[in-house]
Amino acid sequence: MLKKINAYLVVLLFSFLCPPLLMAQDNTHQLTEIRGAVNDTLGHPLSGATLHDLASGSKSRTDPSGHFSIRGTLGSRLEISYVGYETKSIVIDQKNLVIQLSPASNLLDDVVAVGYQRMKRSEFSGAVASVKAKDLNTTTPTLGQALVGKVAGVQIAQVSGAPYVSTKIRVRGVGSINASADPLYVIDGYPAGNDIYINPDDIESIDILKDAASAAIYGSRASGGVVLITTKKGKSGSSSLSYDFQAGINQLSHKVKQLDASQFAQLMIDGRNNAYKDLVINGGGTWTDDMYSDDNATRVARVGNSGSVSILPDIYDFAQQKLIAPKYNTDWQDELYRNALSTRHSLALRGGSDKVRYSLSGAYQDQDGIIVSTGQKRINFRANVDADINPKMKAGAHVAFTSITNSEVEEGRFDHGPILGALIYMPIFPAYDSIGNLVKNQAAALSSQYGLQSIENPVALAEETQIHRTGWRSTYNAYLSYDILKELQFKVNTGLQTYNEKYEFYRPSSLSSGAYPPGSPQALAAAYATARTTAQKDLLAEFTLNYKKSFARHNLDILAGYTAQQTSSDIISVTAKGFQNDRIEEITAKGADPSNFTMDDATGKATWTLLSYLARAAYNYDNRYFLTAAFRTDGSSRFGSKNRYGIFPSVAGSWFISKESFYSDWLGVNSSLRLRASWGLSGNNNIGNYNNQQVVSGPDGVVLGGNNIATAYSLGPLMDNALGWESTSQVNIGLDAGLFNNRLSITANYYISKSYDLLFNQTLPALAGASTILTNLKDSKVQNKGLDLQINGTPVANEIFELSLNGNFSLNRNKVLDMGGASTIYSSGAERSYVTHVTETGQPIGMFYGYKVIGMVKESDMAAIEEDNANYNAATQSYPEGYIRKGPAISTASSNSLKPGDLYFQDTNGDGVVNEKDKTIIGSAYAKFTYGFGINLRYKQLDFSSSFNGSYGNQVLDGQDYYLYNMEGSGNQYEKVADRYVSAQQPGNGSVYRASRAGTQSNSTRLSTFYLQSGSFLRCTNMTVGYTVKDIARKTNDAIKSIRIYAAADNLFTITKYLGYNPEVDYNNGANLTPGVDYGKYPLMRAFNLGIKLVF
């Protein structure tokens, strides 16, 4: 017995290694001329239908009278396809064939993944969006990017151009306040597959479960939607080897317009002179314009505050009160960004015999980033083998491996990230000295004296800070199914996924530490290395029983299952200091003092477990009336002991109107129409591990008894031991229609969902010892309602020319219906800790919050302002009884009274002063709608495809404005700043306030409408032109089956008014309370690629 099993395994193994041998007998064929005609069901000839002899690979098309001739093989299979009709496969049994094609019920006959099984789309009544391999922009480096703009109801945002970062995906809005709204990824049935680096070429299809009824089968993990990825499998009866090579150039997709050196220098002069004047007057002094000639020492002696009043002597002629043209004019963006190369090879071998099917693929991608020093090298390998062991038993294995090697860069604040740094660094300084070395410590050395931002040469920051990440992900998945009865199948699916990562960071002593120069003792002390190893392991076991039965017109499909999953992680993270030089840029060069080596907080182990029971029953009568009900219960270690199990039911139904006898082709001949409705409950368990257990924090240390360090423990933050999942209940109503022989298909969905028991970092009073606690807000409700619409059309399709168009449109409205008794939430999502967002009842989550700018002070306003100031009592923040204010309300936070060119804010509550109580909602990060569309053309051998996506009506809080749009002259600014208020004669464009570095009302840390910009955009995400070489199979005697060469551009152009790099912003990495903030993120790349695809 064992022997036979071994023999079987040998065959299985053999099939991995040399699959073509298994095909050997199929490859012997003799070509003969086959003729015939292709008609539709009514006998009308079909012109332009494609015929494909699977054995020889030869292809042909029907002529306008529906006739064809093809060189084929008797006994082999012929595949006939035509747009809008079902593809048919027949055995060539004679030399003259008449073939009839029936109209395809378009999308509805597709098979879609719905969780734990695959169903015909027509049998499933939920809202599932599907994207097939051919519709993906596979020239992009990541799968997420390939999906941009393709799916209605799913917002896929390109928030970063880093080659190692994928897109942000949101399904139907945000239903949560604090928990992550990321979808669950399931790759080939494995719900752990957050493999963002999957090879796009391996994808067969992507199905996104959008409504809760569909997603509920994944229970407590499903409220962000479920993305089911199916990889390519081998097919019986054919084998092919394909090789795809692509090479390209990537560049900065949009350069930010900034001041040049002279404009910057003038801004600095104005900012310091205005500040000097304000400070002299505020200090009770007398001002004359001759004082603009005061040298820096005089200025400091008079008002202190060197950084606010001193001007670099090499840009300002004090005596003449004039600009001296700066010596350098460096464009720091040009210095930091480069044209980066990328190459990709992918090789795939797919095929199978009657009993064994295989698919092997490997890919190598080397993608440089546009920031010098960044990039990713990636290796993908995947093997899928499926075997029919006997008529009752099937088994298979899916093995995948991904290796990544990243060189990364720090993002965010300029003091460590070069991206914002390059926008702020002053153009008056050179990047390199005369012998080509990076010049460092220029701005930082002058920072305290001249108030320049204390910042290192951004090119040096990028090049000399070492950040590397290598990761290896392996997934092993084996299944076995057995037909206990004809109708009853038992299936067991086991899986193991491991992920190992090494992250290394080195900050060299060759960079300045604040104002201290490279190599100084302070720079040596600031140098450090971090090394972090992460090991993750995930185990999965699933057992399902599937019963399928049709009797008379009744069709029944019942699934029941039990699953267990365990995820554990183990992280060790250490940081070393005490580096004496940069000769060893590794943690091993740690200093001699043992205390220079510390373990970081990230270190630790964690395990979480999930135990579930699930069931689904699908019934239909006569393929006209469909009903599905599903149920899942999840027990999770993440939930508190008082709240361990969650229940997630759903029900869905649909009605095929077009199959009714009374339908009589309302929408035209061969049209179809279906109505769907569903309701379901799904959950969100993104609450982290152990958040239901209050622990003691420590050990920490405290110095006691001279120089001894004693061990100290203290009470950890308060935790909620009833912590549970958050629930989303969603109703979906949908319609599917196919018109004009299904050349036009429309899918529309309307949904309304309510999330409750919201996971919420509830604010605690300080006396609780923690500022927030993660809990479920009882009685809280967040609503999302919206519409998504997908339209695909193929107006023309014949042998010579084919045109197809697709479009999608999504709108979502988010609203907090009830905060469940919690108070309004104020959140800080940009620079420092100033409040930027508010979440309150009746409004969407995370609205921009601040002051409304209502005007700019003019010279003519000054008389009124001065009178107001004279009557204003600062100590009581009020005016005398009966006094009527003449000018704008005074801000209590202003340390500098209003001058011409300052902005003033709305006194919302009318109490005469602008303070905390006048802050209000000032904008929204949510789009009014988003959309995507594509145009695809084929003309003879040429093909063309394009895709676009866009967003309308959202705003962006440009957190960078804190530095790029503050008129201080402490760092470079947007070009728009040249149009600022200078004087009554030079009032600028009326919106940009005057230059100053001394706490004016305008530039204090208060968020106002001034910082908001329109985030609407339209982007061409991809354009591809391809050429398929004609008759290559015949010309090469079938050595090569096809050759296609193509040229593609990703992110070709973006139309937007946004001043920063990219209006698709996500500084807070998907945090729901603080959406729509931009701040020093990696800008998008534009890629030009050339490629060739060979099939053997």
Binding site: K4, I5, N282, V300, G304, N305, S306, S310, N390, M393, S448, Y479, L480, V492, T494, G514, S520, P521, Q522, L539, A541, K577, A606, T607, T609, S637, Y690, Q693, Q694, V695, V696, S697, G698, P699, D700, V702, V703, G705, G706, N708, A710, T711, Y713, S714, L715, D720, T763, L764, P765, A766, L767, G769, Y826, A875, S895, N915, E916, G999, N1003, T1005
Partner: protein, 511 residues
């Protein structure tokens, strides 16, 4: 036979499933921490929790060396002139334009309650564990209560009525329910209880070297005396006499525990000498820092040092350092030895201003990274002695008061009070003994976070505003004296806590 393959896969699945059948499969506990319920098992666990309370004192947002923003900058001693961008938030403190949403204010409030929580946790532990040595329990409890009293004393003086918690909070409901202001009297009653327990405990009168950084009976008595003295002015006048008597009693008790004769035995510079920090007999309670240690060292010497200066630290300064208001400089009498030790004028053209030199560590061990060993002194005998002068004056014992005052003046190289008052300039500036003592405290204890409390103790809100308004704006920097109003006698309740319970955690007037 083919079923063997089947069995192989099934058994693989069972590896996971077998364990999942057990109930523990879903009951995962954090392997990296001890749950609160399981924590207290031995006397040592209480000790480490007491240490946790001392550790909570080390926050610069609370009462450690870097917390001058909340006291010195709020008074007339120090400040900052940069009102731009982020510096605008701390600028609000000396500018008397503080907003309830100020994040520094919120952090300060949070840090003080963190101290209270750490102390509450240790006290809860002391009640759970059965001690073999009852004296040990008394000591640990006394230490935790001393720390808790320190935090409440800061809170009640800065905000008035605040929320009172004396046990670890165990649920959200409890936290919300406790977030309400209780009267100033109740807060003082709690402080007095805690300090009375500490003063009567089995703690040593003064800590030996090995116990530096821990509370002692002398420290508890000193603090309790200061609390009573503050209560005498802050609370209703009916109990004023009692409070003054209690203040005198406890201050005297502390004074009598000293190991030196008079202050002039201890040179002023020795008090701040890093090498003498464990032996200087003047020090009553300090937060300790470890020289040369990147995590546990003090940075006060280096961070006060202005550009171009070398007095404080081997770490070069880059900015204006610890800025001193001219108003304080002018308050030093000529010949005061403390002036040259405490402040210096930085001549660098970008600074051109006074900076703090009171805290110095130029040792090689502290080095160019500025990892100093300066302890942060919360209580010392000069403070106690001047409080004794104050309470005696309040009780009408001017002679005794002047004797204590002269003890401090004597060490500073100044003539005694009775001589000084003959000097018309001195008499014009400090016409009353009360103002003379206030002045002496200012220069003796400059930059030690005492000045704001002295002003609040000595003056009513209206007197406080008048005192500030009487100053010369030119000596005050950019911060505007005219902004000062009676609202500034108290801090606003931080926005967040007020917002959680606008009625119970009501806002102070004027905000």
């Amino acid at each position: 036979m083919k079923h063997t393959f089947f069995i192989t896969i099934i058994s693989a699945a069972l590896v996971l499933t077998a364990s999942s059948c057990k109930k523990e499969f879903l009951g995962q506990a954090d392997p990296n921490a001890v749950t609160v319920a399981d924590y207290f098992t031995s006397e040592n666990d209480v000790l480490t929790a007491v240490n946790g309370a001392y550790q909570s004192l080390r926050s610069n947002a609370g009462m450690a060396e870097g917390s001058g923003l909340y006291t010195e900058e709020r008074s007339d001693n120090t400040g900052r002139n940069d009102n731009q961008s982020n510096a605008g938030e701390p600028f609000q403190f000396n500018d008397f334009s503080l907003l309830p949403s100020n994040t520094y204010l919120q952090n300060h409030w949070n840090a003080l309650y963190k101290i209270i929580n750490a102390a509450n946790f240790a006290l809860a532990g002391a009640d759970i564990i059965k001690f073999n040595d009852p004296d040990l329990k008394s000591q640990y409890s006394a230490e935790a209560k001393f720390v808790r009293a320190l935090a409440y004393f800061d809170l009640v003086r800065k905000w008035g009525a605040v929320a009172l918690v004396t046990k670890p909070v165990s649920s959200i409901d409890e936290a919300m329910q406790k977030n309400t202001r209780v009267s100033v009297d109740s807060i003082y009653a709690q402080i007095v209880n805690d300090l009375t327990d500490a003063a009567d405990s089995k703690l040593p009168d003064l800590q030996p070297v090995s116990g530096k950084g821990r509370a002692s009976r002398a420290a508890a008595n000193a603090l309790l005396g200061k609390v009573y003295l503050t209560m005498a002015s802050a609370l209703s006048s009916t109990k004023r006499a009692d409070n003054l008597q209690s203040a005198l009693h406890y201050l005297t008790a502390s004074y009598n525990m000293r190991t030196f004769g008079t202050l002039n035995e201890i040179p002023y510079a020795d008090v701040f000498d890093v090498d003498k920090k464990t032996t200087c007999p003047e020090l009553l309670f300090q937060i300790e820092y470890k020289q040369g240690d990147k995590d546990y060292s003090s940075s006060i010497a280096a961070s006060n040092q202005a550009k171009g200066e070398t007095t404080n630290s081997l770490k070069p300064g880059t900015g204006s350092g610890g800025n001193v208001k001219l108003d304080l400089i002018k308050d030093y009498e000529s010949g005061d030895l403390r002036k040259d030790f405490s402040v210096k004028f930085a001549k660098d053209p970008t600074v051109n201003d006074w900076y703090i030199t009171k805290f110095r560590d130029k040792s090689a061990l502290a080095g160019t990274s500025g990892y100093g060993g300066n302890d942060w002194i919360l209580l010392r005998y000069a403070d106690v002695i001047l409080l004794l002068a104050e309470v005696n004056m309040d009780l009408g014992n001017n002679e005794a008061a002047i004797a204590f005052l002269d003890q401090v003046r004597d060490r500073a190289g100044l003539q005694n009070y009775k001589e000084a008052i003959k000097n018309p300039a001195y008499a014009a500036r400090y016409p009353t003994l009360k103002l003379a003592i206030l002045h002496e405290r200012r220069v003796e204890l400059a930059f030690e976070n005492q000045r704001l409390y002295d002003l609040l103790r000595d003056f009513t809100p209206e007197q406080f505003v008048a005192y500030i308004h009487a100053k010369d704006q030119a000596d005050y920097g950019l911060a505007k004296i005219s902004n000062c109003g009676t609202k500034d006698y108290y801090y606003p309740i931080p926005f967040k806590d007020n917002n959680l319970n606008p009625e119970g955690m009501y806002q102070n007037p004027g905000y």
